[in-house]
Symmetry: C2
Subunit: 412 residues, 2 copies
């Protein structure tokens, strides 16, 4: 390449998004880019002309390795959605003026659905105006809900963390005996898609029964049947562990986490603080069974736990970043890099590029046939799908007992 | 030794308690014990004659290694406190009859304060009745609140998990920008002692500012000053992360987690479900500042995260188990093994045995001078104390992407 590259990160944090950033940087340098700029806080920051020169932060190969092991978004992220071109042309003129000033040849955006929408609009605008810059998207989301790609970078590491943590929680649950048993409800991210919650099944193995039930948001939740099942399990087991998605809903569409509404706290700004799905269910089950109950939210830990990242995930994230630069350099635009699975066992994958118009704003859910008939567990197909994505480790670079990350001063 | 050994585990789960169990088993076998029995669910299970022969589960050196990497209590645990000898002699007669039946020469109990109380009473009873069995305690608690020992096995691994997770949470917090900033409150275990909460300071390093404030239960909590400090921090930083102990209390003695009382849920059994310290504070701060707030409870994950155990901790736990058997074999009774720190830098430690009468029921708190004057952080002395305890890793034995544990069938 002859010009410069600019790269941005968008949407929620993951353990793998910085590995894609590392892949973009290395491939761009290898292919001759003069400068690789990073947008600070995505397209929103770029509109404020906030950007940096990545070569000031990635000065050697060790920095690259540290960047791969740094969670969240090294450049900072945003949740900004571009207006339609006909609604506000000024925004586009501003962005392209900045790109021209920086002599940008390739614009790479790492993110989820909203980010692919950004790529689509910018690439459309470039085509309309005859601008030569190329725009390529890199998939990224722990939610794994992007269409057309077999899976998304970030998902494998989150799944590995969830499987491992749920297994440790199961061991913990058997430690102490309670008169009426103990019920642990683990709340896992995923408002609409159950990919993360289903990964709790990875805890199951020769040395562990796995969680007793798994409830995905794709299946309507029946509180009465749920309670009956918990009571039945408590007759057989002293400790019951259940994984639930934060987004499970009743048949009538109400979120389970809304059921505790009357008891929730409304602050001075009128924000309602929900008790959480696991919090509500554990209170409810305590009342119904007299068991000791525990609510555990894996919370942000599940998306930023680089210390337990999956090697497959981190390497694929890196490849996807490199493939995006290659595609732009070869003239592609308005495309997203996707991961294609060539084989399950042995697992083999590769990258392709697909038209971003076909991807943007579509949400991929867990297929109904990958959930058991009674809706309380995932099937072997689900496990066979996710298992290869959690393989291998990326040893953290430990300094004085704590993982080292790549640092940049904040509030630039 | 000529007779048999019996070992039990008591109190809350940790990542290191099974390493002490492995140490007890190996040293007992090496010193010639014929059988090493394990009490199932501690002294409470023993009273129901529930025990197992450990050689059926630890069949080779790999099993020993897996046991060291298995969280919670392999044998099952209990929270049973023995009655005073004069109150209920029958309990003692029953226990000693079982010990005689099993030809027990050494009785090792791994646990916290309550467990040392058990050792004290059983050893007193043996002395009174002239029984030859020896009773030795092994310290164990993530809380690090046992007297006379420099620190307790289990603490170092929990501290490593807390330091690492808080660092990942700090990275996560800087990812997205919010108009009024984002405040994350991380709730950490420790009802009375702040050893675990103080370990959040381990996140601080060349590449990370660490948490902005740390509140230990030893220091009375002032909600108004707290709010002022958060507001001041928000003027300088877009993301503020605060570590609080679950046990922080106001000057008048009320727990902070009780302040949300009016909004908490009371179930059909009359159990009150508290909103939690972090939950209450994050709602309160949202109301006061208009910031986005997040409450994260590290919950049971911090005590059972074997996948991120500290090597120093796991090795010391193993040594302590072995030293307990050695002490009993050499004729000691009514003693607890303690860890003695010979040097901070380089860190060097060893074991000694101390009279359990001096230990039982004492609670070791963080010294006032290890907390800053304004009570919002720990000092360098605190960090120098804990830093050596989190050094080194114990690589999990990964099978198909998930850590392997040593398995035993449950509900025996």
């Amino acid at each position: 390449m002859k010009g410069n590259v600019i790269v941005g990160q968008s949407g929620g944090p993951t353990a793998a998004i910085n590995s894609s950033l590392a892949g973009v940087y290395r491939t761009a340098i290898d292919r001759g880019a003069k400068k690789v700029y990073g947008m600070i806080h995505g397209i929103q920051g770029l509109l404020q002309e906030r950007y940096l020169d990545l070569s000031q932060y990635i000065t050697n190969d060790l920095d690259t390795e540290l960047l791969k092991r740094t969670p969240a978004a090294f450049l900072g992220s945003c949740r900004y959605k571009l207006p339609e071109i006909h609604e506000d042309m000024e925004v586009y003129k501003k962005i392209f003026a900045i790109l021209d000033k920086l002599e940008i040849e390739a614009f790479i955006y790492i993110g989820g659905n909203d980010s692919m929408d950004t790529i689509k609009k910018l690439s459309d605008y470039a085509i309309i105006t005859g601008h030569p810059a190329r725009f390529i998207g890199c998939p990224k989301t722990i939610d794994n809900d992007l269409a057309l790609t077999d899976h998304t970078p970030g998902y494998g590491s989150a799944a590995k963390y969830i499987g491992t943590s749920v297994k440790e929680i199961i061991r913990d649950g058997y430690c102490l005996e309670y008169e009426n048993g103990v019920v642990t409800i683990v709340e896992i991210m995923g408002r609409n898609a159950g990919w993360l919650t289903g990964a709790a099944a990875l805890a199951k193995g020769e040395d562990c029964d796995g969680p007793d039930m798994i409830y995905l948001p794709e299946i309507p939740f029946d509180l009465e049947k749920f309670t009956q099942r918990v009571k039945k399990l408590l007759q057989k087991k002293s400790s019951v562990v259940i994984a639930v998605s934060e987004g499970i809903r009743l048949k009538d569409g109400r979120y389970v986490c809304e059921l505790g509404d009357s008891i929730d706290f409304v602050d001075a700004f009128g924000h309602k603080q929900l008790s959480g799905t696991a919090g509500y269910l554990s209170s409810f089950i305590a009342g119904e069974t007299g068991s000791k109950t525990r609510a555990i939210e894996l919370s942000t830990l599940q998306r930023s736990a680089s210390h337990l990242a999956s090697r497959v995930d981190i390497l694929e994230a890196y490849q996807v970043g490199g493939a995006a630069v290659k595609a732009a350099d070869e003239g592609d635009s308005g495309k997203m890099v996707v991961l294609v699975r060539h084989s399950d066992d042995p697992y083999q994958s590769g990258t392709e590029v697909k038209d971003v118009h076909k991807i943007a704003n579509d949400e991929k859910l867990v297929p109904r046939e990958w959930v058991t008939k009674d809706g309380t567990y995932v099937t072997d197909e689900f496990i066979n799908y996710v298992r290869p994505l959690i393989q291998g480790d990326v040893s953290p670079v430990m300094v004085d007992g704590i993982p080292r990350h790549l640092y940049r001063p904040l509030n630039l």
